[in-house]
């Protein structure tokens, strides 16, 4: 479990992280979202002691990261896959991690296989790696100590579709075995598929957090009827705001059971009623972070 308590980070007058608190629980995948520059990477760097927070604390299963005797065995970290010595081979980078952690040498070849780097690729120098290969190497470094907590900053960045699918299954498996997974990503679809909990930040502040089902619920309901005009009237009668989705359906903030009741009372036959998933997380993300978006309020 990762516990973040009133974390604040100031760079001069820039407030990169502004008094945020959240937990990433064991057995769950926590998605950490926010627009560019929101403070995700800064928060993750603070978690592992690379940056000193101005205020606040982070603990991992109740201990500060610096107090872990052999952190690689307890926390797997991937912050930036390109932060490697360009002149080392991929295998050598894993060997260094393996030796720091005091693991058996066989673990290196095992991990290469886990992330699907061939022996030939492993013998190449990292300067000749593609983006996805670096990412795979970074993931291997994070996993080599078989840690119970994973902190991953945009791990899917640069992975091919098969790699993303593999990553998703891997993280799911980790959480299902009781591990804690915190990952940031801009691939909202990925997060929506894999995350159990979501922490969303903008301008260094938490704009929303909770379980995925709760949050997506808040994002509303998609409802469709053959008689769309009657449906819209019935909903607005109840004081519910509706937005046309563009394909004849309506989106509303209310939850599905309320919308169903309204429709029943109004005698409107529904053809579709569901939580606004799919675009849900993206919609919610853009809405919640609109004040902090570079592009301003989205249309």
């Amino acid at each position: 479990m990762i516990t973040v308590e009133s974390l604040t980070m100031k760079y001069g007058r820039t407030l990169a992280v502004d008094d945020i608190s959240f937990t990433a629980s064991a057995g769950r995948v926590t998605g950490f979202l926010g627009p560019n520059g929101a403070g995700k990477s800064t928060t993750m760097r603070i978690m592992v002691g690379l940056t000193r927070a101005t205020q606040g604390t982070v603990t991992i299963d109740g201990r500060r990261f610096a107090d872990l005797p052999n952190p690689g065995l307890e926390v797997g970290v991937l912050l930036d896959a390109s932060a490697q010595h360009a002149g080392r081979t991929g295998r050598e980078i894993l060997v260094l991690a393996q030796q720091f952690m005091g693991l058996p040498r066989t673990r290196v070849e095992e991990m290469l296989e886990v992330v699907s780097l061939t022996p030939d690729e492993a013998s190449r120098r990292v300067r000749d790696y593609s983006l996805g290969m670096r990412q795979r190497l970074g993931i291997a470094t994070a996993l080599i100590g078989d840690p119970e907590v994973l902190i991953l900053d945009e791990p899917a960045n640069g992975l091919d579709p098969a790699g993303i699918r593999w990553m998703r299954d891997l993280l799911r498996g980790y959480a299902d075995r009781g591990g804690t997974v915190l990952l940031s990503s801009h691939l909202l679809h990925e997060i929506e598929v894999i995350a159990d909990d979501i922490v969303m930040i903008g301008h260094g502040r938490i704009v929303s957090q909770g379980t995925k089902t709760e949050l997506l619920h808040e994002a509303g309901t998609i409802v469709r009827a053959d008689n769309a005009i009657q449906l819209e009237l019935a909903l607005t009668d109840w004081g519910l705001t509706t937005h046309p989705t563009g394909d004849g359906a309506l989106r509303t903030e209310a939850d599905a059971s309320l919308v169903g009741k309204v429709a029943l009372q109004a005698g409107v036959a529904l053809t579709e009623l569901r939580a606004a998933e799919g675009a849900g997380l993206e919609e919610m993300f853009l809405e919640l972070t609109s004040a902090t978006q570079r592009e301003g309020v989205p249309a």
Partner: protein
């Protein structure tokens, strides 16, 4: 991708032991060799030592074909290369951004920095052993080829002076790596400290009388020169010169640098 899981995940571990400093030092030593540039930098110590010894055999006047001439000639390439090794060992964590992994696996930065210092000194001592061996071979060979008398004009104490002096040079490089944390900047600073500054001090000393007496207390190269002349034992005053200049040019800036390293953000 393969379906092999990432391991027998989360088998309850027996108590996790802290990473011992010996292991960190071993890994840090490995990191000095495991890139092509690192490997050739260290190999170049042996290569230039042999070249310098060859140069002495070919060009030194017969009367000077002694062990101390060899040791002195070999010192020049080595005194440049050794500190580079120490500088790059430290700065690459920042310039190559490997610190992101290193300081995450070992979150106590002083342990990594100590391991790097110990590793660099081990390399320096190995390099010195090599230097003495190459010098001795050169001396034997020189005597054999040119028929000059075999002269061993270096005592054990003087050997130790020599090693001590070289380790000091290496540590100055190390200090600059820690203080500046950028490869180019630290290397340039090393050349300024070791070659430019002593020249300026020398000029000043010859033109200004007041500085003449002050020079041994501020010019570290001047203060340390006694370590490399294979002449006689150092006097107490000479040791004091080395101590004071070492404090000014090595210990104090190193303390400042360490403080910066402990607080600096790694990204």
């Amino acid at each position: 991708m393969t379906t092999i899981a990432a391991g027998s995940s989360h088998t309850p571990r027996t108590a996790v032991h802290p990473v011992p400093l010996t292991r960190i030092t071993a890994v840090e030593l490995r990191k000095m060799f495991d890139t092509r540039s690192g490997f050739w930098l260290i190999a170049s110590i042996a290569i230039t030592a042999v070249l310098a010894a060859g140069g002495v055999i070919v060009w030194a006047p017969d009367g000077q074909l002694t062990y101390s001439t060899f040791a002195t000639a070999i010192r020049f390439p080595v005194v440049i290369i050794l500190p580079l090794i120490a500088i790059l060992a430290v700065t690459s964590e920042w310039s190559q951004r490997t610190g992101l992994t290193t300081f995450t696996l070992i979150p106590h930065r002083y342990r990594i920095i100590s391991a790097k210092a110990i590793g660099s000194v081990i390399i320096a001592i190995a390099a010195m052993a090599l230097t003495f061996a190459v010098g001795a071979l050169g001396n034997l060979l020189g005597a054999g080829v040119k028929g000059a008398p075999l002269v061993w004009d270096v005592t054990l104490t003087q050997c130790l002076y020599y090693v001590f002096g070289m380790v000091l040079s290496l540590l100055v490089g190390f200090m600059l790596g820690v203080l500046i944390r950028a490869s180019t900047g630290a290397i340039v600073a090393y050349f300024i400290l070791t070659f430019l500054l002593p020249t300026l001090f020398g000029l000043l000393a010859s033109s200004a009388q007041w500085f003449h007496t002050l020079q041994p207390w501020v010019d570290s190269q001047f203060a340390q020169s006694g370590l490399f002349v294979f002449d006689k034992s150092l006097t107490g005053e000479q040791w004091a010169h080395i101590g004071v200049t070492g404090l000014i040019w090595l210990v104090l800036p190193l303390l400042v640098g360490l403080r910066l390293v402990m607080r600096a953000e790694v990204k």
